[in-house]
């Protein structure tokens, strides 16, 4: 197994394309976007079934890559989160096929 970094970004759906573009330009080789159902934050509860426009829906963007690529993405993602609602975390993971990340 080989050490890599895992980036997890919970962000509003409308801003997800912006986040994904940042990941792509940072050289990360892939990411996955997952839907979120409901949550609480900023003194407000939210849920997918309370917003007809789906504009306040949240998604989770997961990407795995080398430390330098994740660091490059973090600088821009920090700027993005200056404007949009979201939570970003990074952790260490082990991968089976390192050439893919």
């Amino acid at each position: 197994m080989h050490a890599r970094r895992r980036l997890e970004l919970i962000i509003e759906r409308m801003a997800a394309p912006r986040a994904c573009k940042i990941l792509e330009t940072s050289g990360l080789t892939g990411y996955t976007v997952l839907p979120a159902i409901s949550g609480f934050g900023g003194d407000t509860r939210w849920s997918r079934d309370a917003d007809m426009s789906a504009s306040s829906d949240m998604v989770v963007v997961v990407s795995i890559g080398s430390d330098d690529k994740v660091q490059a993405a973090l600088t821009e993602l920090e700027r993005l989160l200056g404007s949009h609602i979201g939570v970003l975390s990074v952790g260490d993971v082990q991968v089976l096929r390192p050439e893919r990340f």
Binding site: E12, M14, A15, P17, R18, A19, C20, K21, I22, G42, D43, T44, R45, W46, S47, R48, D49, A50, D51, M52, S53, A54, S55, S56, E76, L77, R79, L80, G82, S83, H84, I85
Partner: protein, 328 residues
């Protein structure tokens, strides 16, 4: 009084109230998200087609053109008034006020559909070109609100990852505009003969589908209200109740100046009085991401939409009759 009671006791309003009550009582009832989106597209296709067929039968003249121009001008103006009132009477900051103002200048297509039913039930006729008016009134308010917001420092910043054209695409090519205008054009081209072939799907089941959709709207409004009420002060709640009346009065003036009939006037008043909760929130998340959706969504969907449906519609029909020449 009869119109008010008939509107309140109509199946669409009763199903809305059922959904609202279920959500406020924390019922677990849900309508699958994808199904609800399908219903919304069906309703927009149906009214677009009907409007297009009406236009193909000679519903579009100089008078209609003047109404369209007036309606667009009104949609540009309403956010300016809404913003000024929000800044004067509430504690909302500049960005929240601008984003909320955009919602109140744009329109709610579901309120428009419900109004069409109530107006027809009141024995009044409406013109097909008003579907085009509805589509045209979706966008100008967003532009007005962005101009207002960008006057404030720091609101013109370039958000990381954004790219040219994304906002224009969201605003001009959102589902409401594409489906409404697209169906209107298809109805216009195919005419009454073409409509006959698809009538069993798009006309007969319309009322039932609307009931189902309003049930979902009630659930959404109730849950939005439950989730977001903490963000609202009394002044903000009051705004969501008096702003539709101000918009409605201005639209009544426009209708009177254009000599519109009572049915068309009632629809225009309803359009102006309604607040968007589908197209504008999406645009605001891109253009003004620092604005709080819990404020503008709760106001437009949780307060103004139920207000318009239950109290507003009979009032707007009464107002339209009062200002229209020859109306009884």
């Amino acid at each position: 009084m009869d119109i008010a009671l008939a509107t309140l006791l109509s199946p669409i309003v009763l199903f809305f109230l059922l959904g609202l009550a279920a959500a406020l009582l924390k019922s677990q009832m849900t309508i699958p998200e994808a199904f609800a989106k399908g219903l919304a597209i069906y309703l927009m296709m149906s009214i677009g087609l009907k409007g297009g067929v009406a236009i193909s039968e000679g519903d579009l003249g100089l008078d209609a053109g003047l109404v369209m121009v007036s309606a667009v001008a009104l949609s540009f103006l309403l956010p300016v008034i809404a913003y000024a009132l929000l800044r004067l009477t509430t504690r909302l900051n500049e960005v929240d006020s601008a984003a909320t103002a955009a919602h109140y200048g744009s329109i709610s297509i579901v309120t428009f559909v419900a109004a069409g039913q109530a107006i027809n039930a009141a024995g009044l006729q409406t013109s097909g070109y008003l579907v085009a008016v509805a589509a045209l009134m979706e966008v100008p308010a967003i532009i007005s609100a962005l101009i207002i917001a960008h006057r404030g420092a720091g609101q013109g910043e370039n958000v990381a990852g954004s790219h040219r054209g994304e906002l224009a695409r969201e605003v001009l090519l959102n589902a409401s505009v594409v489906v409404l205008l697209g169906s209107l054009i298809i109805g216009w081209i195919s005419g009454a003969a073409g409509m006959k072939a698809i009538e069993p799907f798009f006309v007969a089941p319309f009322q039932g589908v609307l009931c189902l959709f309003l049930l979902d709207m009630g659930l959404s409004a109730g849950r939005g209200l439950r989730n977001g009420w903490r963000q609202l002060g009394p002044g903000t709640v009051a705004f969501a109740l008096y702003m539709p009346l101000i918009s409605g009065l201005l639209a009544a003036g426009v209708a009177a100046l254009n000599g519109m009939g009572p049915g068309d006037a009632a629809l225009l008043i309803t359009l102006a009085a309604s607040a968007s909760y589908i197209a504008v929130p999406a645009a605001m998340r891109l253009a003004l991401p620092k604005a709080r959706p819990s404020v503008y969504l709760t106001l437009s969907l949780g307060i103004t939409f139920p207000f318009n449906l239950i109290v507003g519609l009979p009032l707007y029909i009464w107002l339209a009759r009062a200002i229209s020449p020859g109306a009884s």
